[in-house]
């Protein structure tokens, strides 16, 4: 069990390129994600952040290069992802959260029990029986976070999870992410919110024009980025 536990890290990307139909979206991406880290990917619109994250999570096959999970042969199951727009199934909130557990073979009563605990952790247990799609965007994203957390993943990918939320809802999601990281879950996140990046990130990956411009500890990045592109980006972005 301990051997299994350590086997999936580090997540290592080597020489990743993605150029469907000739246009280069990503090239020469080399990146290592260590267990327990919290990496925030920053970069301008269209830089390829979402594509990179989808490749890491296994939703998209890279054109070249390798995605390797520690010493595993295959993509591990214990990972989850949050999208900018939460996808709510046409079912109750509780069923949405239990769904991910159920498809992994956990019997329904056990799945529901764990789902309810996950909903409590995001403060939404009172909405358990509501149809998920009538919830507000912020509540839906919290349900999505609970659905991800219920899977007890060892790594969580988040692609601009708060981009379409109001500040209050964004804070709720942010503290949820911080709690999951504190519980030992490795975090890889894209955000446009520099304040959020400052508060959460241990490492910053700065991506522009499909290339990693720099990969710097967050503290140093915000004081003194190493690349000109990142310096310009920090000047232009709102805090």
């Amino acid at each position: 069990m301990t051997a299994m536990k350590t086997a999936m890290f580090p997540l290592q990307l080597s020489g990743i390129g993605f150029a469907p139909s000739g246009t280069t979206i990503l090239q020469d991406i080399n990146l290592t994600i260590a267990e327990g880290s919290c990496t925030v990917i920053l970069g301008p619109n269209g830089a390829g952040k979402s594509v990179l994250m989808r490749i890491m999570h296994g939703l998209l096959a890279p054109g070249s290069g390798r995605v390797e999970w520690g010493s595993l042969e295959e993509r591990p199951l214990s990972q989850a992802m949050l999208f900018q727009r939460p996808v709510m199934l046409r079912r109750s909130v509780l069923s949405n959260v239990a769904y991910g557990l159920h498809v992994q073979g956990i019997p329904i009563p056990e799945a529901k029990r764990r789902a309810l605990a996950a909903l409590e952790s995001v403060g939404l247990q009172h909405l358990a029986d509501r149809p998920a799609r009538v919830l507000s965007g912020g509540e839906q994203q919290r349900v999505a976070l609970a659905r991800a957390a219920a899977l007890q993943p060892r790594i969580l990918f988040l692609d601009e999870p708060t981009a379409s939320l109001d500040p209050g809802a964004a804070r709720a999601i942010e503290s949820g992410i911080a709690a999951l990281h504190a519980a030992g879950i490795t975090i890889v996140m894209v955000t446009h919110h520099l304040g959020q990046a400052r508060r959460l990130a241990r490492d910053i990956v700065f991506l522009a024009a499909g290339r990693i411009q720099e990969c710097t500890p967050a503290h140093d990045f915000f004081r003194q980025p190493q690349s000109q592109a990142a310096a310009d980006f920090l000047k232009e972005e709102l805090p």
Binding site: R54, A80, F83, V87, L89, R90, V103, Q104, P131, R133
Partner: protein
């Protein structure tokens, strides 16, 4: 014009007095077409969902075929089912020809492509929204198909209503495989065709009124389901 009003009066009288002969025909029609839609759905819904989510060789060809078969003429379906069920045919031993079961089978064959094609469209639209999330959760194509069938259940119920409407209003297929035997395989459409040619206009018209009312009701029901599902975000 006079025959028209006279027939209409007689037809309304039949309807109002719950004429046993007339309602026997209506009830057989409903049973035959309900069973037909159920049979077709068992096969067509999973097929439509798999065409939407699974990747397998021949998927595009199958999709084109299913879409094309939506427009199959009912008489041709009747002929094919007749040949299959006739004594020398592959299903001849079942002895189903000229029974209500044969009629259900023929209507099922007729509406299955319609159900499959509409299901594929609806499930594909939902899949477009769900694909990343379901892949992220590690869902297999079979699980995805089941999930999407359940999540589009309200849209799919309107598809079933559309299939029922097509089944109950077709005449060619049931005429051929049922034989329009009075009291055994005579349904609304075949009765209308026969009674009209025989000149028994009141019965034909009474059945016509019921058929039209039924089709209108099905559409109203489908509309109601759609707006309810949209309102309650189901």
């Amino acid at each position: 014009m006079d025959t028209f009003t006279a027939s209409l009066d007689a037809a309304l009288a039949l309807l109002l007095h719950a004429d046993a002969h007339l309602y026997g025909i209506v009830s057989l029609s409903l049973r035959v077409s309900c069973l037909a839609v159920l049979l077709a759905a068992l096969f067509a819904l999973p097929l439509g969902a798999l065409l939407a989510v699974a990747q397998f060789p021949g998927r595009r060809t199958l999709t084109v075929l299913v879409n094309g078969f939506m427009g199959l003429p009912a008489v041709v379906v009747g002929l094919i089912v007749y040949l299959s069920l006739s004594r020398a045919g592959p299903l001849g031993e079942l002895g189903l020809l000229f029974t209500p079961s044969a009629m259900s089978l023929a209507q099922a064959v007729l509406v299955a492509p319609l159900l499959a094609a509409l299901t594929r469209q609806i499930v594909e639209d939902a899949w477009f929204e769900y694909a990343d999330q379901l892949h992220s959760l590690g869902v297999s194509p079979r699980q995805a198909a089941l999930t999407l069938l359940w999540d589009t259940r309200w849209s799919l119920s309107t598809v079933l209503l559309a299939g029922f409407g097509r089944a109950i209003s077709e005449v060619g297929a049931v005429m051929i495989v049922g034989g329009n035997i009075d009291g055994v395989t005579r349904v609304m459409t075949t009765a209308i065709a026969l009674e009209t040619s025989k000149g028994d206009l009141p019965l034909a018209m009474g059945l016509g009124i019921i058929l039209v009312a039924l089709v209108l009701l099905l559409n109203a029901l489908a509309q109601a389901i759609r707006s309810w599902a949209a309102r309650s975000a189901q």
